[in-house]
């Protein structure tokens, strides 16, 4: 069986989410910051009248922030609790992968990435990390990573 993934980049790594989970991809939007919430929540954006929470995936994964001046992109995904936007460095292609290239993450992967990376697809020449979006937006986990 083949699956389609929407790919994006974070700190040089390739990540993917299933195409069906992605609502749209938009360029950087001005955000309204929300006081008193964990730093992974970067703010609120206005997506044609709908207010969407933007989550910084770099912070979620415990990576360094983007250098100032470099603007992230929004990947708007559908979650159980409505739409959420992930802030990523750059958008890649939509690719088709076979089920047999999938492998769970190695035990040696620890830290926040372990919670949100569901597995790895072995692509020619590189690895694509499959993001578990529900885990990525879990508020309990979010609170655990106040930066």
């Amino acid at each position: 069986m083949t699956q389609q993934f929407c790919t994006f980049f974070l700190d040089g790594y390739v990540f993917g989410v299933q195409v069906e989970q992605v609502r749209e991809v938009i360029r950087y939007q001005e955000m309204t910051r929300v006081p008193l919430v964990p730093a992974v929540v970067r703010g609120l954006i206005n997506l044609r009248g709908q207010i969407i929470t933007a989550i910084d995936l770099r912070r979620r994964l415990g990576m360094k922030d983007l250098p100032t001046g470099q603007l992230p992109m929004n990947v708007v995904v559908r979650t159980e609790d409505g739409a959420i936007s992930f802030l990523v460095d750059e958008i890649g292609d939509v690719i088709e992968v076979q089920d047999d290239t999938f492998e769970p993450v190695p035990e040696t992967l620890q830290g926040p990435a372990r919670e949100v990376v569901h597995g790895v697809h072995k692509l020619p020449g590189r690895l694509m990390l499959v993001l578990d979006i529900e885990r990525a937006v879990n508020p309990r986990d979010l609170n655990g990573h106040i930066v």
């Binding site: 309204t32 910051r33 929300v34 006081p35 008193l36 919430v37 709908q50 207010i51 969407i52 609790d81």
Partner: protein, 774 residues
């Protein structure tokens, strides 16, 4: 489910609701053939339809009811409370069977043999042993009444007739969770075939063709779209205000008007009269009153007051609870009432009306009232307040204790109320829709509960403020006033009580909350520059407390569309939601109560520390000779009090407005010449050194239609005190001294002062010359 069956359910549920109120009405007016016929017709229709649809058990129950009603109608039997109880029990039985049909498509296994037997017996002899009540279905499944002739009401009633198994939600968006109702179809009339007396058609019935039923989801979507349109309109209006091209400006104005009109009309589609809730109360009151052996009549006013459907949903349970409570706890038993010299029948009054953009609902009974000393003891016993708190609490604060979780003063727990859950739930539910509950009670003569709720939740007027470069919206319902302190005065006007900032607002200490600190906002260099500048205080009301919110800047007031925050952010109490501003950016909406709680203005258990100022005045509240006093400063040190009821107004005049007429200082006031009397001169107190250009502070005193202005050196405060003169004075113009706010204060004798200023009030038409030269 079969369309036929779902139509039957919708129609029958509506009819049953009408039956409830009609049966109760019939009890007070047993001779009404019209009511009896209408009841008979309804039961007959239900019976006919279920025979047709094959619900034999339901048919059987309806059948005995119908036979009983037909005997009543023929005048062979006369109505007694047992009949009404029996028939109401039948309505409940039918309702629960309909519920069963809704869930399973079958009329269930319960056959109600007892009920059938009772009704049959009633038919035969007109007398029966007491009937075991059939549990009424929960309120949430109860259904709106269709008995109105108005289009929207009908449409909405349809929406409301859909049984809601889903828990009630607290916002307009929550309405989306409801199961989809039946598709659009014409408002059903009672089918002529099933109606044996078409010529007696109820006068309240609708004209067919004037109304259509609309899916409530469609209305919700419409409302959302209009919300979007309003935002887009705001954006365009903002843009076009900077343009001059009439090709844009005039259509933009047109768009502005049309959108407002559209918004109003669409809002109306969501409005339902409060009668959808009120109409259930006669039955509730009857049941509760019968259950506890009381006689209660109910009076309802303003039943056609309209409010948003989602709000109606939200207040239905709290209102029902209050009504039950009033009958169960408030109103006394007939014997007790007679013994206390009241009519045996208790009276419950419900009143709804619009007041300043809000809906006010009052529920008052003429019962025993709330015994605050019992409330106090109970609260102490349950550990809800400390003995220290109990001493300083005012009557009002004591009354509000009944809203605490785990509080109940009922001596014995009844079936109906008194389990200690209740009033706190009422309070929570009302708070959730930005409403407020207030309680007044007079021992022996009754209790009034006043509920205030906004008209709608979806679009609210709000004040937009800026703090540390971010915009925030504050709902205007909580807004009291705005105070601006200029930069040079900011340092002296904002004072500190052990590090806590306060501002003296007309003599009262107003606790201040800095929005940037409350939200931990970081200031950029640019916004930090604003810090030393003028301060703007937004005075807000949270519960019954006022506090000042210090912000950088006030932008404007704007109609905002409230959007819920994602679930991820729900935990933050300070925000009530977010909205999209005219420029398309998102702004957070501040939840005033949440903010007050975070800032400890209102503590979460609502047990308040009475401020020292109030403590002084309240501790002596039991005294009888309480009087409001105006505290003034006379001379450098003199602190004096004037009974407030002698004060007509307080004025400040520029020194240039003070003129001379003979020896007398006068000023022009409201078209007359008002003599000015300097109090310190009369009392021969050395006046404070002052600049002759300073404005003069004047207390206007009026007697026999003439005014005199008493010039004082400062207005200090207004207090309420027991007037106990401790040291009667020999001096003219001073009645004596007393202790106010732990300082010795002289009480002025105003008439004496005016006399000694040789101003004569006796000649009503006294010409000015006489006044000055006398």
């Amino acid at each position: 489910m079969d369309d036929l069956i779902s139509d039957f359910l919708v129609e029958s549920n509506e009819n049953l609701d009408r039956l409830d109120s009609e049966l109760v009405k019939l009890e007070t007016d047993p001779a009404s053939q019209e009511l009896l016929s209408s009841i008979f017709r309804t039961i007959h229709t239900i019976k006919g339809s279920c025979g047709f649809l094959g619900f034999s058990k339901l048919e059987k129950v309806a059948h005995v009811g119908e036979s009983l009603l037909s005997r009543l109608r023929e005048g062979k039997l006369s109505l007694s409370p047992e009949f009404t109880t029996g028939l109401l029990a039948m309505v409940d039985a039918i309702r629960s069977m309909l519920g069963e049909i809704q869930k399973t498509g079958q009329d269930g296994n319960e056959t109600y043999p007892e009920l059938i037997e009772t009704l049959t017996k009633l038919q035969d002899q007109g007398q029966v042993p007491a009937l075991k009540p059939i549990p009424a279905p929960p309120m949430q499944e109860e259904i709106a009444n269709r008995n109105q002739a108005d289009f929207m009401q009908d449409v909405l009633a349809n929406a409301a007739t859909q049984p809601k198994d889903v828990p009630r939600t607290d916002s307009a968006a929550g309405a989306l969770n409801e199961p989809p109702p039946a598709s659009v179809h014409a408002a059903p009339e009672e089918s002529p075939a099933a109606n044996p007396h078409p010529q007696e058609e109820s006068k309240a019935s609708n004209v067919p063709g004037e109304t259509i039923r609309v899916d409530v989801h469609l209305l919700d979507r419409l409302m959302n779209l209009v919300g979007e349109l309003v935002l887009t309109r705001n954006q365009i209006t903002q843009f076009s205000a900077r343009q001059t091209d009439p090709n844009l400006v005039s259509p933009a104005q047109q768009l502005n008007l049309l959108t407002s009109e559209l918004q109003e009309e669409v809002m109306k589609t969501r409005m339902q009269p409060i009668s959808t809730i009120f109409d259930k109360f006669p039955r509730v009151v009857r049941d509760v009153a019968m259950g506890c052996g009381k006689q209660v009549s109910i009076e309802m006013m303003g039943k056609d007051t309209e409010l948003d459907k989602s709000l109606l949903e939200a207040i239905k349970d709290p209102l029902t609870h209050i009504v039950r409570n009033s009958v169960d706890h408030g109103i006394e038993t007939p014997e007790l009432r007679v013994a206390r010299g009241k009519r045996a029948e208790g009276h419950l009054k419900l009143r709804a009306c619009h007041e300043g953009g809000q809906v006010v609902i009052e529920i008052s009974d003429d019962g025993a009232g709330i015994d605050t000393s019992r409330v106090k003891n109970k609260a102490l016993e349950r550990g809800l307040i400390t003995p220290q708190q109990a001493v300083v609490m005012s009557e009002r604060e004591l009354l509000n204790l009944i809203f605490l979780p785990g509080f109940s003063t009922a001596e014995k727990i009844t079936n109906l109320s008194g389990r200690g859950v209740g009033m706190d739930v009422v309070k929570t539910n009302i708070d959730r829709v930005n409403g407020s509950v207030d309680i007044h009670s007079a021992m022996g003569s009754g209790t009034t509960i006043k509920i205030k709720i906004p008209l709608t939740l979806a679009i609210v007027p709000a004040l937009v403020v800026v703090c540390a470069g971010e915009r925030f919206a504050i709902p205007q319902v909580s807004l009291c006033e705005l105070v601006r302190i200029e930069a040079d005065a900011a340092n002296s006007k904002i004072e500190f009580v052990h590090g806590v900032p306060v501002y003296r607002l007309r003599g009262r200490l107003l606790p201040l909350v800095y929005l940037d600190q409350a939200l931990h906002l970081e200031r950029t260099a640019e916004s930090a520059a604003l810090l030393g500048a003028a301060a703007t205080i937004v005075v807000l009301q949270a519960d019954d407390r006022q506090f000042g919110l210090v912000v950088d800047e006030i932008i404007d007031t704007e109609e905002i569309v409230v959007k819920p925050l994602g679930k991820k952010l729900k935990g933050v109490k300070i925000f009530a939601g977010a909205t999209i501003m005219g420029d398309g950016r998102v702004a957070l909406i501040i939840d005033v109560l949440g903010l007050a709680q975070e800032a400890n203005i209102v503590s979460e258990v609502r047990s308040r520390n009475v401020s020292s100022h109030e403590e002084n005045t309240k501790a002596e509240e039991k005294g009888t000779n309480r009087q409001a006093l105006l505290l003034i400063q006379v001379g450098e040190q003199g602190r004096m009090a004037i009974p407030l009821d002698l004060v007509a107004r307080l004025e400040v005049f520029a020194s240039s407005a003070v003129e001379h007429s003979g020896f007398q200082n006068v000023t022009q006031y409201r078209g007359e010449i008002m003599p000015l009397v300097r109090v310190s001169d009369i009392l021969q107190i050395s006046a404070e050194e002052r600049d002759s250009n300073d404005p003069v502070q004047v207390v206007v005193y009026s007697e026999k239609g003439r005014r005199v202005g008493l010039v004082v050196d400062g207005i200090l405060d207004i207090v309420e005190e027991n007037v106990v003169i401790q040291n009667p004075s020999q001096r003219d113009g001073i009645r004596g001294s007393m202790v106010i706010q732990s300082r010795v204060t002289d009480l002025l004798d105003i008439p004496a002062i005016v006399r000694s200023a040789q101003i004569n009030f006796d000649h009503e038409q006294a010409p000015v010359e006489e006044l000055v030269s006398a």
